[in-house]
């Protein structure tokens, strides 16, 4: 774990230099470099959502109580990386499209997925006893909902031209991008494990208290 953390720290320290070395993009200049953090955050956001969905399934249908800790950790990371995505996205869009926000399918579905995980975190914080299963139900429904949101928003806006085409990246841009993806993946794994471990240990402390009370 320590090794992983040191590695992630080094990678994030090195990332700005690599991004700086990447060539300027013709039309957007410096601003396009937000992309090097935007895309990895978005990927981790979606990974977190999938992890939360799978863990919810394990909790509800396979009756693994410890899966709840993974749902919780993944949901919080979905909120974290979702926030990173939704903050860096408009910064880029302002320069690229001239507006902060468009009601594009991808943007709107990301926002809705983010809202679902915010709802999850609120539920776990204020829902009281029994909110673990409730939350798992919410996460599972959220997962099932993503394609519907995507399709509906996509058709809602078909009347408008597509906003952007992701260009084929030249190699000098590709290397820093994949470096950042690797760094974010590492960060994601570390945070997920730490957060889940915190919940495992909290659970154990509770068990010990209960055992003490009974004795």
């Amino acid at each position: 774990m320590i090794v992983l953390m040191a590695l992630a720290g080094t990678m994030f320290a090195a990332a700005p230099f690599l991004i700086d070395a990447a060539p300027q993009e013709a039309t957007m200049g410096l601003v396009y470099k937000i992309y090097f953090f935007h895309m990895p955050s978005a990927w981790m956001f979606l990974t977190a959502a999938v992890v939360a969905g799978v863990a919810s399934f394990r909790l509800l249908f396979l009756k693994r109580p410890r899966a709840d800790h993974w749902v919780m950790a993944a949901a919080e990371l979905a909120v974290l990386f979702g926030a990173c995505t939704l903050v860096t996205g408009p910064l880029w869009a302002r320069k690229s499209w001239g507006v902060w926000w468009v009601w594009d399918a991808r943007l709107t579905s990301s926002l809705m997925l983010f809202m679902i995980f915010v709802a999850y975190v609120l539920l776990r914080k204020y829902g009281g006893a029994g909110s673990d299963k409730l939350g798992a139900g919410l996460a599972l429904f959220g997962m099932a909902n993503v394609p519907f949101i995507y399709v509906s928003v996509n058709y809602w806006r078909t009347f408008h031209p597509p906003t952007s085409v992701v260009p084929k990246l030249p190699i000098e841009m590709g290397i820093p991008l994949w470096f950042c993806v690797a760094a974010f993946t590492l960060l994601f794994i570390i945070l997920l494990r730490l957060r889940a471990r915190l919940e495992h240990q909290r659970d154990r402390v509770e068990m010990l208290y209960l055992a003490e009370d009974e004795a």
């Binding site: 709802a119 299963k133 139900g137």
Partner: protein, 227 residues
């Protein structure tokens, strides 16, 4: 009649009996829906003329808001007398309980919509009678999708703290497809020359949503309602 259908029928009959004797949820929800329509009209009608597509939007927002209220009140009634526990203790299939509750909610929302849709037609000059059949299908499919998710969430939230605020927080992001499909489909029907093909597309999306979420809810109701 098999056991499943009998349990469903018992639950619907029970909910109906309670409701008919007090009319509490129906009357308050219906009045609330009318108020929502008026509030939005004041906000969105400029110089005596509504903005484009505003009638469809107001209709669906009113359905969602009043539906949330009906869901909350229905399960509050079960919680207040601790009768949900009795229902769960009964030797009945959990999915049958869910279907019974869902039908009760659908009936309530349907009655409210019977007032809401003509009201929209009246206030916004919308062709609710000419486009009656496709509009009814859209509203029915949208209501089913909304209520299928809502019934499950409201039932799960019965034992949670701050359930009043948590229900809309959970329900609205989840029913975004219903809102988009409902509003776009209805707006297509309300155009000067109704666009049946567009309405058809949204109706099929709603139908797919209904199928997936009713099945998913039947499937999750058992584990989430078990302590």
């Amino acid at each position: 009649m098999n056991a499943f259908a009998r349990i469903v029928w018992f639950i619907v009959k029970k909910d109906l009996t309670v409701e008919v004797r007090s009319l509490e949820i129906l009357s308050t929800t219906m009045f609330f829906a009318v108020t929502v329509v008026l509030m939005f009209s004041f906000g969105l009608v400029v110089d005596g003329r509504p903005l484009n597509d505003v009638a469809a939007a107001i209709l669906w927002v009113a359905i969602a808001f009043s539906g949330t209220l009906a869901l909350g009140r229905t399960f509050e009634r079960e919680r207040h007398n601790d009768t949900l526990r009795a229902l769960l203790l009964a030797p009945a299939d959990r999915p049958a309980l869910y279907v019974g509750k869902l039908l009760g909610i659908l009936l309530l929302m349907g009655l409210v919509e019977l007032v809401l849709v003509p009201l929209i037609g009246l206030l916004f000059n919308a062709p609710v009678i000419e486009q009656g059949v496709p509009l009814a299908l859209l509203v029915a499919a949208g209501t089913l999708g909304f209520a299928a998710v809502g019934t499950l969430f409201a039932a799960m939230l019965v034992r949670a703290r701050s359930r009043d605020v948590l229900l809309p927080i959970m329900l609205y992001p989840m029913t975004v497809p219903v809102m988009i499909a409902g509003v776009r489909g209805t707006a297509a029907l309300f155009q000067p020359t109704p666009d049946a093909a567009v309405a058809q597309f949204w109706l099929s999306l709603l139908a797919a949503f209904d199928v997936v979420f009713v099945i998913l809810a039947l499937w999750t109701f058992e584990p989430v309602m078990t302590d």
